[in-house]
Structure formats: structure tokens, C-alpha cells
Symmetry: C3
Subunit: 141 residues, 3 copies
């Protein structure tokens, strides 16, 4: 049995909130005692994504504004079919999450995540309401 | 030897068709008997991608329309260089696939894929003609 | 101990340069002697990304132009907050890297990367200056 890990429970405000998961992922890695391997971080749900970025107010604001421009909550023309067909309001969240994807894999070397100095593991909750999210961290050694 | 898995053969219509792979991935996972681990799903080819999304007609239509708007088959201005240089017609497919990426990693807990209720593993075939695709599912435990 | 692998050191010109990593990743895989498994390729840093694509002049030019259009270095309106707040000039690089993501997982079957014929593993360095990049290749078997 070489997989170990944990489940993170993350409360978010939704609406595109970006949450820095790095310390929590690091804690799971330390708990496993893994010296060398990979931490696979996966967010459950179809309106949430995981990636890495420098987590600071500027980049957070930039990515938020960029996604609102590229994948707007309310399209300038046409409609979101998901909303029209299902009486829903989070179609933009589904599209953003599918583009960015739910998982990222981070190497572990000498017991530490091998991230860059300004590189954090983040969750992006695109849903249009507060959510309780489950993030799985699995450590493969 | 802790890697096992299988190869899925998927016939697509191309042209952006989105195919739900979830049941097929689940079958591979069950075949391996893995109780805890990660299923890594990878699509072979440079005009095909893998991600997760809620697979329903609305989100499928929305993602299709979004990609046509952001990465159009025929640009409003300029040309796709891949098409111009190679006498080809699927440059948009290459760009879309590179953006979304070819792989996704899904946790396995208690023998089941730990997807959200409305979260499916999907293949997006962006090529402009029908294709036979190979998708590898590898289970790491 | 089932993880082995290596670190690639890649000098780039930055400014969106796309570097084909395939042969280097293949070398690491051969060094490990892995017959079946997964190679996880991860780029360190918050202005660099990894994906797969057909690496040829047309697709490279197309992806470069597409990203400049979708995530421009200088926005038509507004500002990049990262640049404004930090006196920096690479906000676009941060946003592009977060969108594409830092990692990709490629299957290994019979000792070889199971890529498509026209599918290469590439690094995209979006920073606005030359960089020395570290890319980790970890082989899980």
C-alpha cells in the first residue's frame, strides 16, 4: 500500500473565490512521511478547479477579471444553455472549471513539495454561492 | 508492480464532440481491484483533450460554444499558421487541446472514483473529422 | 521505493517560448527502466506551464498568437493589478500559466511514453525575460 493522503474540507464563498491550499497540502504530505513522490490534488465537483499560481492580491484580481472577461457570468449575446435548460445560474462556473481542470500533481522531494518560491496550490470555486468543498490529496511514493 | 489499467478505444465524430468516459474508467478501476489510489486518464493525440465536467446537454452546448468563440475554427482576422503551412484545417483543434490538456487524475477511495455527483470524466475530440481515439487509464495504488 | 526520476534544467528566452521536452522526458524514463507506469512532468514556477501539443512552427505560432489575444501582455482597457501593485511587468505570464497549469501525466507502456505520433510534451515559459527552469520528471510504476 503506497498511497496515503487525506481529505481537505474547504469552506468557500463561491463566486470565483481563490483559496490557497498550499499549507494544507503540505500538512498532508508531512503526515504521510513521504520523502519522494507526488502529491495529487483533486477537487470534487463540476464548478471548482485546482491549479497553481502566485497567490497575492494582484494575481488573484487579474485571474478573476480575466475569467469574467473570457467566460462571463452573463454573456453579451446569446444565453448559457445550462442555465436556460435547468433553471440554473452557474453555467459560467461549469465552463470555467472544465477549462482549468480539477487536478494538479506536485512533486515531493526530500519530504517537501517542490513548488517554486512564488507558486501556490490553489482552489478556484466558481459556483455562484458558498460551498463546502472536498479536496483529496493523495501521496504516491 | 503497482500500475495496472487499460486502454479505452473511443470512436468519435470529431468536430468538438464531447464523450462521457466515466463508466469506462470506472470499469477499468473495478477490474484492477484497487481500493485506494489514483486513476490517471490520458488521451493520445494532439487534437484531443480530457477534463471533468457535468455531462448534460446544456453544459456540453455551452463549452462547445465558448471554445468556438475563444478559439474559432476560422479566425475573424489573420490565419491559423498550422493550416497555412501544412495545408491542414484543424489548427483550432490543436490550440484547444493544448489549452485544456490531455490528462486528468481522479482519486480512488473504497474502490470508487471520488468524483462529485455531477462530475464526469470527459474526452473532447476537437479534430475536424471522425477519429478513433486511444485513452489510457492507469491505476496507481 | 517506486518513484524515480530526474530534474531537467531548461534555459529559455521567456516571452512565451515553447520548448519541446519530449526527448528529455524520454531519457529520464529510460534511465529508470520503467516498463509500465506514468511519467509526471511538473514545471516549477508561477509563470511557466506544461502541456502537450504538436510541436511544429505553425501550431507554436498559433498558440502564441492565441494567448496574446486572450491574455494580452498589455490589456486594451484596465490594467493588470499584479503589475500595478508590484511594479512588475509579467502579470500576463501569471494568468497564462494558471490557466494551462504546471503538470501533465503521460503513460508509459512497454518502456515508452504513450504519446500520439504528433504529440509532444512542451514547456511554455510566459515570463517576460530569459529564465532557467526546473522541470521535475517523476516516474511512478
Amino acid at each position: 500500500m503506497t498511497v496515503s493522503g487525506g481529505m481537505l474540507h474547504v469552506e468557500t464563498a463561491g463566486d470565483g473565490q481563490i483559496v490557497d491550499l498550499t499549507e494544507a497540502v503540505r500538512s498532508v504530505v508531512r503526515t504521510t512521511g513521504a520523502e519522494r513522490g507526488v502529491a495529487i490534488v483533486f477537487a470534487r465537483g463540476s464548478t471548482v478547479a485546482v491549479t497553481t499560481m502566485e497567490y497575492e492580491p494582484g494575481t488573484v484580481a487579474d485571474l478573476t477579471a480575466l475569467l469574467e472577461r473570457l467566460v462571463p457570468r452573463s454573456p453579451d449575446e446569446g444565453v448559457w444553455e445550462h442555465n436556460a435548460l435547468n433553471g440554473d445560474s452557474n453555467a459560467h462556473a461549469h465552463a470555467r472549471a472544465a477549462l482549468i481542470g480539477p487536478s494538479v500533481s506536485v512533486p515531493i522531494v526530500e519530504g517537501e513539495l517542490l513548488l517554486g518560491t512564488w507558486q501556490q496550490v490553489v482552489l478556484l470555486d466558481f459556483d455562484d454561492r458558498p460551498r463546502q468543498r472536498e479536496v483529496t490529496v493523495q501521496v504516491l511514493v
